[in-house]
Every structure is written in structure tokens, then in C-alpha cells.
Symmetry: C2
Subunit: 479 residues, 2 copies
């Protein structure tokens, strides 16, 4: 039996169903907490938890001394995962090698770039970074020329660690190892805690790169249903942990790719507690953490008292992908992680580390993030408006809390791989949803990158995509 | 039975023994080819092959219309490998994790840097590279900001490929995949052709990083005796291949680390032919290839008709380690290699690739290499003179044909790990020989880096090392 710690989530779900079905309409006041508690036969506390959750997700508004009101009943929201499609059993990953081909189109400068999840140069401080690089070539030439210390530049790791001072369990400079991007960090983290044949739990949908990584390293995968606003189902996760035989769990808790949710602090702490109770290492991919719109969002690592969380991040999504600089704090696995790092790439590019150290030290990076979050939020909302306008009725989409992607479900059972191919021929790069799961569970989804402003060109591309989606749905119906 | 293709090597060895023993002295004329052929009961051709080999190694001089004369009988030469210590059987690597600690001292700027094998900034064009970086930040900012194409920068791979036009089998731009240094290339090459538990053949002594790589990836190792001037024993290699069960062979054919030999073209071709005959992939670590003193030395890859050679190289040893840029041409394993690369670090640092592309395009790199080779040759010879002067009698050392390391054998059975530790306390970083083999076969060897000019400080360090070596030998004797 699954315990009742997550009862409030079930209450939230039932409330949302009623809002979606029109039982409660926007602006309407909900019954009092006491009455709801009686209706659902749960405690007053559980109702309050559920209300707070739905408020955080934008559905409700709690007005002090007045009551709780419906704020949104957006029928465009993507549906919650259908538990029956998740057998919670280990399977082998065998995603087509084609995925690497899907990524390649990004390198074509003539494409409309809605494929790779990446903020564009319009919202990133390209000139300032280039100026800092020039400065480093003048004042730190010898340091830039040489191998860096195996752990990374001391200035850089010092300032990385300082950013975690507000965590319950801060990361220290000694915990940190600099990597060549977050992908290297994830790869080394995986190899630090597991071996070929082992089973690793992932979110579903999850970043396709994580699935490919698991495939390349011959790990088996258990997919756990993941809620578009709350994140990985802790109840299902516990069920899998209870059964045993799990070597690691790979998750994103901030601005997850592709769903865009940010887990609540409470759920992050509960996730770490689960990892501790069952002694399963948690590999946390926080590559989007710095883009959470609201404010700096502490990762699950912030609650890691027992060193079971292998935290991985980078600056590819928040500053400059070409730097190829990431970092990890691998907790109790740090020694093994560091050995693997040195035999993977020895050290990471020196100039990139010095540049990042200086941008953190001067406060420029923090200031840049404040602007970036506003830009990304605006761009994502602008793109969502266009999708609602141009895509066929029945299209559903996420309401991200960070990052720059929209996760879009097309109506009519359209396989988005067909849409991807038609779009590529048209000079539009999008990403088909099938590869965000091991078995094509999300084949009718599409991921759109809102990393750049919605220009007239982008609008035309979205309009074309919407029409193509409608055509494909019609073709499906005729068959 | 081992066939007679390498008979001339045995003849050479016997001749060298006689020269070393004083049977033939420097300046003396050797018996005619015909007489030698009768003495050794081999063909005239075999004697000529042997003479040519010994001439290439600097022992003999062939004067046309006159005869063959002894040129050198340098008693400082390190001894040939003792075949009896090579059982040619697979063993597991378990080098102490301490090796990573040995490397770490390099990051201490106050150390006399005789440890890591690396040309110093004195002989590398630091200013020119920094100026090129500045130029790229001004004129290629967006390209430097972005992810590079998964295969690497087109300008860069184009010019890399052009350098191989004189090979029997040139490398094309399409064959090339850019990596984050040669270590990533070696790691991906290994994973492209083998799995945990597999057996890989290596030279002995070999680069300790290669052994650590095999340890981390749980490969077993067969060590093949390697001649200080001719390279890996092809006869022993064939014996191992014949027995079967070998997944790959990892070698260096140019300016090998630590021995400094460069294999003859004939032996390189024979090595590739062996790999073809037994269908064993050859992983070629050519990171020192550009530093061969004589001239550009084609690698074994130059003879690779069947795509079995996975060539790996970088610019860390010839231009700038901090760039972290290497490359590979993985032959028939390219597809798998590329998949692994994308899931290792996605792409490599953009600005480093653009910079290298421009330095190759302008001809600057080729011009720089001509100067670098002269510098390294001079520095290595200067350091060898100091070692002969200050180290105890009975010390032996290599005569490198490229690169910047000396491989030094101490007399009196000194364990150089003790010397390493004493030297570290004294602010001198050297590398103990024990880690260049799986079982401490070379524990009485020391590797010295001659990457920087022999300054008064370096001379003092060598003088101190020589004295310490003598002391340790004396301590050994008293026990």
C-alpha cells in the first residue's frame, strides 16, 4: 500500500478535474476548507496543502480573509500522465541512432531554430563574454595556456560554491569538479554509481540525451510517470525503490526539459528523503536551474545531508553553449567521479573556466540571469499564444516555470516524427516527442524551442507547423 | 614458430651487444656484408636491413663505396627489454589511485616542472594563440558562442585532412571527429571497439594514462616488450594475436612516451599489416607525432587500407594544452565513435576549434612546428648532458627522436617512487617509472620532462636528483 504522504496530490487532481469539467468556473469561490475536508473525507491540512499547490500552479488564488478563487481553467494544459501506461519495469533503451541526426540540423544556420532547447544569442550577453575572453587572453595568458588543476579553476569553484550558501546543505568548493559541459558530468555521474546491465530510474518524459546516455552505457531504464507541473511521481518512485535493484535515479527538479515544471521545495526534500531511505543515488541534472523564472531555485542537492545526490549543471543554457563548461558535486562518490573525469578529458578548457570565474566574481552573471529569466518567460508566453492561435483545436501545451521550451500535444494521434520530417524540408527545425521516452509514449508530442524572440519568421514557421499538424491529423482520419 | 620477417632485428641486437662489449669500437670498420652474411648464416639482404636499421638508430654510418663504420657505442643507452619478464598473458590493471596525485603536483606553479610531459610556454607561441583568440572573439563571435557541428568545425577538419595528403591512405575531412583533447579520443576509441572484460595489448613501458584508462574501463592488459629505439616487438605482438582473444592494440609509433622512439615506415606498415591479418583494431595515440625532430612523421594510420586504425591526436603537446582540443579518425568504427562522442561531451569548445582552424589555414602552425622541433631536440640533448654529468655511474637514458622526455634508469635498484617523494618535498616534480607498466616492471626508471630550457634552476634540480639517486642506491646497498 502506498502511504498517504501524497494524498493532497490526489485531492488536487480531483479538484482540477472538476475545474476542467466546468464544475467550478474562473472567478468562482471554492467551498471553505472545512466543507472540502468533509466532502473529500481528508484532514483540513490536506485540503490546505492541495490549495497551496494549485495556487503555485496558477489554478487558484488564495485571498486572505476572503477565500479561495478559481484563477484558471486552461483547457490547453497537457493531460496528466496515464498511470496505466507505466508498468514500472526495467527495459532496455534502443532509441534510433536517428536522434543524433535530429540534433544535427541545429548546425545549419539557415534553419528556423525551434529544435534544440537553447536560448538564442539575442538574449545572451555574447559581446560581454567575448570581451571577457579578450581580457583573459591579455591578463591570464599563461594560466589560459596551461592545463587547469584537475578539479577546476579555484576562482571558478569558489564562486560556484558561494552560490549555494543559502542551501540547507551548502556545496563547498572542495565538493566541486569542473567538467566539459553537463553531458560529461551526467556521463561521469552515471559511471560513478552504476555498471552495464544496471537499472536506472528516469522521469517520463525526460531529456532524450539522458536516454541515449543510458543506452550507450547499456543501462536498463524504469520510466516513472511525471506530472507536467509537479514533477516525478514520488509514490510511483517509492514503489520502484521498494522493489529494489535500482542503481540510480536520474531527475531534473528545476525547469525540467521538456515539461518545464519546477518541483516545490517540499517535494524536492521528499525526493532526497526517498533516495536516503532506499539508499539509491540521485543524479540531478540541473542544467536549466538558473533559468527558473521566479527566482534562484535550490535544487534537490540543497537537501543532501548524506551525499547521495550527484549534482550536474552547466552554463550552456544560461550563458554560452560553445564554452563547454559544466560542473558536478558528486557527494560521497566524488573520488570515483574525479578519477573518471581525469581519464575522460583530463581537465576542461582553461580559458572557459577563467572566464566563468570572472563573470561570477564580478556579479555580472547574477545580473544577467535576472534579465534572462524575464526574456525567456516573455518568449515562452509569446510562443504559447501563437501555438494556441495557429495549432488545431484540441492542441495541449505546458505552462513552463523556467527554461525556454514548450511541450505540445497534437490532436488526432499525429506522429510528430512525420511533422519533424516535413518541417525539416521546409527549413524548420523542431524536435519530435517520441524520443523523450523509451517506447514512443509521447509520439504525438512536439517540443518547441522559445529561446529566441518570436519574430515574423518564427510566427510564419509556427503558422506553417499548425497547418501541417492539422493536415496530418486529417490524413490520419481518412485512413 | 615465429617467422623470419624480423630476423634482421635479431642480427642487429647481436651486433649491438658486440659493439657494447667493445668487440667493435667507435670509428672501426665492420666486416663486409658478404662476410657478415656467412658469419650469421643469413642472407645478404638481412645483413643490409640490419645495417640500415642501426644506421637509423645512430650506431653505424654507411659510407658509400667505402664501408660500414661504428659511430656510437653509447653505454648510457637504456637496455633492451628482457623478454623473460613478459609472459604475454592478460592481467588486470590496478595502478594505485596515487597516479592521479602524482599528476596533481603539476598544477603547483612553484614546482620545478620535470613531471608532466609537456613543452613549456617558452617554446610555444602563447602570444600568437592569444592574439588569434582575440581575433576570433571579434570576427566569429556567434560561431564561438554556439555549439559546433557534432563532427567539429569544417575549417578545422578540412585543414587537418590536408595534412595527410602525402599518406599512402590519406584521411578525409569526413573521417575526422573533433574531441576534447586526445584523452577523450582514446577513451572513445577504446569504447568503440571493446567492452569491459576484454583484453587490450599495450606497449611496455607505455603512457600511464593509457593504463589508467584501461583500468577504469575494466579492460585486461597484455604488455608486449617494446624496444627503446624500434618500438613494440612485432614478433611478440604476432604471438599474442595468434593466440586470439584480443579486442584491440593501443600503440604510439611517433616519439613514443616515455621511450621517445619513432618506428620506421617499414615497421609501421608491418604493424598495420599484422592488425589486418588478425583483424585486431589498432588504437594509435599520436599525440607526440608533430614533435618528431626529423620531419613530419606519417603515423601507422597512413597505411590503413582497411579502416582498422583508430587514430587519436591533439594539440596539447605541440601548441597549447589548455585548448583541450584533439581529434580522431576512427576508420570503420567512425559511426559508433561519433555516437559516443556526442554522449560524452556533445561537442568540443567552439573557440578552440576555430582558433586551430585558422592557425592551420594560415600556415602558422606548420612554421611553428619547425621551430618547436629544434627547440625540443636541443633541450632534450641539454638535459641528457646534465643527467650524464650529475647522475651516478651506471645511469642509462634514452636518445629520443621526438617529444621532450628522457627515460632514465637509475643504478642500484633504486625505487624511483622514493625519489619522487623526496623530490616533491624539495619542490621538484618528476614522474616515477613504476606506473608505466602494470606490475612495476620499470620501478627503477624515472621520466624527466625537458619541455623547457635547462635553466640554472633546472640544472640545480638535476644535480640534486643525481645526488639523491646516489644516496638511495647507497641506502639500498647498506640494507
Amino acid at each position: 500500500m502506498i502511504d498517504d504522504r501524497f494524498l493532497y496530490e490526489r485531492i488536487s487532481r480531483r479538484l482540477l478535474e472538476q475545474i476542467g469539467a466546468g464544475s467550478f468556473t474562473v472567478g468562482q469561490k471554492l467551498p471553505s476548507v472545512r466543507r472540502m475536508s468533509a466532502m473529500f473525507k481528508v484532514s483540513v491540512n490536506t485540503v490546505m496543502q492541495s490549495y497551496r499547490q494549485l495556487e503555485a500552479e496558477g489554478y487558484l488564488e488564495i485571498r486572505p480573509q476572503s477565500g479561495v478563487y478559481v484563477r484558471s481553467s486552461d483547457v490547453h494544459d497537457i493531460p496528466e500522465p496515464d498511470g496505466s501506461r507505466y508498468p514500472l519495469l526495467p527495459v532496455e533503451v534502443s532509441l534510433s541512432e536517428q536522434v543524433l541526426h535530429y540534433m544535427e540540423l541545429h548546425a545549419d544556420p539557415d534553419m528556423v531554430r525551434l529544435g534544440i532547447a537553447l536560448p538564442g544569442p539575442e538574449v545572451l550577453p555574447v559581446d560581454r563574454v567575448m570581451a571577457t575572453i579578450r581580457d583573459v587572453t591579455r591578463h591570464h595568458a599563461l594560466e589560459a595556456w596551461d592545463y587547469m588543476h584537475p578539479n577546476g579553476s579555484a576562482l571558478f569553484t569558489h564562486h560556484l560554491a558561494r552560490r549555494s550558501l543559502s542551501y540547507e546543505v551548502p556545496v563547498t568548493a572542495e565538493d566541486i569538479i569542473v567538467t566539459s559541459g553537463a553531458m560529461e558530468a551526467l556521463s561521469l555521474a552515471l559511471r560513478s554509481v552504476s555498471r552495464p546491465g544496471d537499472t536506472v530510474v528516469v522521469e517520463s518524459p525526460t531529456y532524450y540525451g539522458a536516454l541515449l546516455l543510458l543506452e550507450t552505457h547499456q543501462r536498463k531504464v524504469v520510466e516513472v510517470p511525471t506530472h507536467p507541473r509537479q514533477g516525478i511521481s514520488l509514490a510511483a518512485l517509492e514503489q520502484v525503490f521498494q522493489r529494489g535493484g535500482v542503481a540510480a535515479c536520474l531527475v531534473s527538479t528545476n525547469a525540467q526539459n521538456p515539461l518545464g515544471f519546477t518541483m516545490s521545495l517540499e517535494r524536492k526534500a521528499a525526493l532526497v528523503a526517498l533516495s536516503e531511505r532506499y539508499q539509491v543515488p540521485l543524479i540531478e541534472n540541473d542544467v536549466w536551474g538558473d533559468t527558473v523564472y521566479q527566482d534562484a531555485a535550490p535544487p534537490a542537492k540543497a537537501f543532501d545531508r548524506s551525499g547521495l545526490v550527484l549534482y550536474c549543471s552547466s552554463f550552456s543554457k544560461s550563458l554560452m553553449p560553445g564554452l563547454r563548461i559544466g560542473w558536478a558535486a558528486a557527494g560521497r562518490f566524488q573520488k570515483r567521479f574525479r578519477e573518471l573525469k581525469q581519464l575522460s578529458t583530463i581537465t576542461s578548457t582553461s580559458i572557459s573556466q577563467i572566464v566563468m570565474g570572472r563573470l561570477l566574481e564580478s556579479g555580472f552573471y547574477a545580473q544577467h540571469l535576472r534579465e534572462l529569466r524575464l526574456h525567456l518567460h516573455d518568449q515562452v508566453e509569446a510562443m504559447a499564444r501563437e501555438v494556441r492561435r495557429y495549432f488545431p483545436p484540441g492542441t495541449r501545451l505546458t505552462r513552463p516555470t523556467g527554461g525556454c521550451v514548450l511541450w505540445v500535444r497534437l490532436p488526432g494521434g499525429v506522429d510528430t516524427l512525420a511533422l519533424f520530417q516535413r518541417a525539416a524540408g521546409r527549413g524548420i527545425h523542431v524536435f519530435p516527442g517520441g524520443v523523450f521516452s523509451v517506447d514512443g509514449k509521447h509520439a504525438d508530442y512536439l517540443r518547441l524551442n522559445a529561446g529566441s524572440p518570436v519574430t515574423a519568421q518564427v510566427r510564419r514557421a509556427l503558422c506553417w507547423l499548425g497547418e501541417a499538424a492539422a493536415e496530418l491529423a486529417a490524413e490520419n482520419q481518412r485512413r
